[in-house]
């Protein structure tokens, strides 16, 4: 049938699709499209601005504000704006609340950030391996995951910190060990769904190894889920660290937000500012992280780009 030349169009002329106006898509280079998607989400932009402000207050501002935060600046329990007081008032030892809250953030954020990193790395790796291989590997890993999931989190963390001392390392370890199962289960479910998709089969058909398929083929496809979850995890870690510190399980020298709330608890009825300002910092940090997570979800999904 060589005379019936049906492949005369093989010079590659695609028929234009009148319903699909792709000209707009191709204007922006691919690498800026994610940023554009993020910028379109107003709440996420607000969250990002908020987080930048918080990071500025906790890490940059203390460089310019001189004076030791443990130093006594006036009488005790002076309300904000009262005579002889500071902008944010003084606490039960006559220290400046504003200065303590400003400098205490770095301890909270450092612990929470490291814990979130541990959670995401451990959770993603275990979930990916379990979901990809299935069978007995999945069984063993999921039983381990369940073991950590049924542990009473706070008690377990208290035991760890009691055993190894209230150092950054032990608190990070405690939070990490409690919180990784959620991400592991999420990533596992995502891998179980994706591993049977055609593109994974195609990757194997071009000769990709297991490790390559797990980390380079499937993992980037689970990233929208992981990124969103990790911002939530980060917020959760901040709250958990604050909770531990509130109970006194943190380095007292750090004067972290949670610890400071715990310290001011006794004077709550007469001194509202000692609790409120560190509390607001925790609230805004967690809020900004979840708003950013929402925006990142849109940005990480290439299918939503250009819409």
């Amino acid at each position: 049938m060589a005379e019936t030349d049906v492949h005369g169009m093989s010079d590659g002329q695609e028929l234009p699709d009148p319903h699909l106006d792709t000209s707009r898509l191709r204007q922006a280079p691919a690498k800026y499209q994610g940023l554009r998607m993020f910028m379109r989400n107003k709440a996420a932009v607000f969250g990002a601005v908020l987080l930048i402000a918080i990071l500025f207050i906790t890490f940059i501002l203390p460089i310019f504000v001189t004076g030791d935060r443990t130093e006594r600046v006036g009488s005790i329990h002076l309300a904000p704006g009262a005579e002889g007081s500071t902008t944010f008032g003084t606490d039960y030892l006559g220290r400046d609340v504003g200065r303590i809250v400003m400098q205490g953030g770095s301890a909270t954020l450092k612990v929470a950030g490291l814990a979130a990193l541990v959670i995401v790395v451990v959770g993603t790796t275990i979930g990916a391996v379990a979901g990809y291989y299935g069978g007995w590997v999945d069984n063993v890993l999921m039983r381990i995951t369940e073991f950590f999931q049924v542990l009473p989190g706070l008690l377990f963390a208290i035991v760890i910190v009691a055993l190894y001392g209230a150092s950054t390392k032990s608190i990070v370890l405690a939070i990490g060990l409690i919180a990784w199962p959620t991400i592991a289960r999420l990533v596992r479910a995502e891998f179980m769904r994706q591993k049977n998709l055609e593109y994974v089969k195609a990757a194997r058909a071009i000769g990709a190894s297991d490790a390559r398929i797990i980390f380079k083929t499937i993992l980037p496809n689970t990233m929208p889920v992981v990124i969103v979850q990790s911002t939530l995890v980060m917020g959760g870690a901040i709250l958990f660290e604050a909770g531990l510190a509130f109970l006194g399980l943190s380095n007292p020298k750090d004067l972290s937000w949670g610890f400071y709330i715990g310290a001011n608890r006794t004077y709550f009825l007469s001194n509202w500012w000692g609790l409120t300002f560190p509390g607001l910092m925790i609230f805004f940090t967690v809020l900004s992280l979840s708003l950013i997570g929402d925006g990142l979800q849109d940005a990480a999904n290439p299918k939503l780009r250009g819409r």
């Binding site: 049938m1 093989s10 058909a205």
Partner: protein, 294 residues
């Protein structure tokens, strides 16, 4: 049916002998044997569930992946470019990884889902090249550009940077073909490559595959249920039904003198121009006793 058939070399490039694949006791492919010769196109035809795709995946040894399938019996001999022959059923994973995509590659049915959605088209072809060849990223990119040109993708430079969702189905299938051809394989397995595409794009893709086969000299295994496609591209034909071989032979012989009743029925199922003349309604298809002895 092709006008000129190149002379057959003596030993087949790929020889499947007595292949039996089972899924938990159910036999998906039973005692299947066929040969594929250099530069030729072999069409495996049959209805859904006849074992065509399982056969293709068995050659790639991808059939056991994520399923309970097992290659119970048989050998698949493949002559490698260096002249040595390997039994793909016995080969280990490391050997298979070197063969997949490099010497035997595969095109799948669904171009919409067989590209990774998070990488650009160019990136995926570059990865495929760098898996098998020790080249720098820039060299691989240049090679990807050339392959894109070879599969007649218009504006290849721009297309390299596009994500799969920005492309049409036909364009994605061209990218798949580009990826499959990027390492100059000697065997190309196409599992219903045109089923998901509309008719005009089907013709383009088939034409392209034929042109590429002439350029590269690769042997093609075309899996299809469309006798029209078979007539268009095949040299040899393997007819399968219920996991068994029904009939095999040269495409001219089978189309002119089919011996098995099933092959006859399959050929009769193609609508012919003028077959409705003088009839007001379509008629019921004649039932054929498929299992009658030949």
């Amino acid at each position: 049916m092709r006008a000129e058939t190149p002379l057959r070399s003596e030993t087949p490039l790929l020889s499947v002998q007595g292949l039996t694949v089972t899924f938990d006791g159910f036999t998906a492919v039973s005692e299947l044997s066929f040969d594929l010769y250099e530069g030729q196109t072999l069409a495996i035809v049959g209805e859904s569930g006849s074992g065509k795709s399982v056969t293709a995946l068995s050659i790639m040894r991808l059939v056991t992946l994520g399923t309970r399938a097992k290659i119970a019996e048989g050998q698949i001999f493949f002559r490698q470019p260096d002249g040595s022959t390997i039994d793909l059923v016995q080969a280990d994973e490391a050997e298979l990884r070197k063969i997949r995509g490099n010497q035997i590659s595969m095109i799948f049915q669904e171009p919409l889902t067989s590209l990774n959605p998070v990488y650009t088209a160019g990136n995926q072809v570059v990865e495929a090249i760098r898996l098998h060849q020790d080249v720098t990223k820039a060299e691989a990119y240049q090679r990807a550009f050339e392959v894109f040109e070879r599969v007649r993708i218009p504006e290849p430079k721009k297309r390299l940077k596009e994500y799969p969702h920005q492309m049409s189905g036909g364009m994605r299938q061209r990218v798949m073909i580009a990826m499959a051809l990027s390492c100059d394989p000697t065997v190309l397995i196409a599992d219903e490559p045109t089923t998901a595409l509309d008719v005009t794009i089907q013709a383009q893709i088939l034409g392209l595959m034929r042109a590429l086969q002439d350029e590269t000299g690769a042997a093609v295994i075309m899996i299809t249920h469309d006798m029209g496609v078979v007539a268009e591209v095949a040299d040899d034909i393997v007819v399968m039904r219920n996991s068994k071989l029904v009939e095999t032979g040269n495409v001219f012989d089978i189309f002119e003198k089919p011996t098995a009743p099933y092959t006859k029925a399959l050929l009769a199922s193609i609508p012919r121009l003028g077959s409705m003349t003088g009839k007001s309604q379509p008629e019921r298809f004649d039932l054929v006793d498929m299992d009658a002895p030949v």
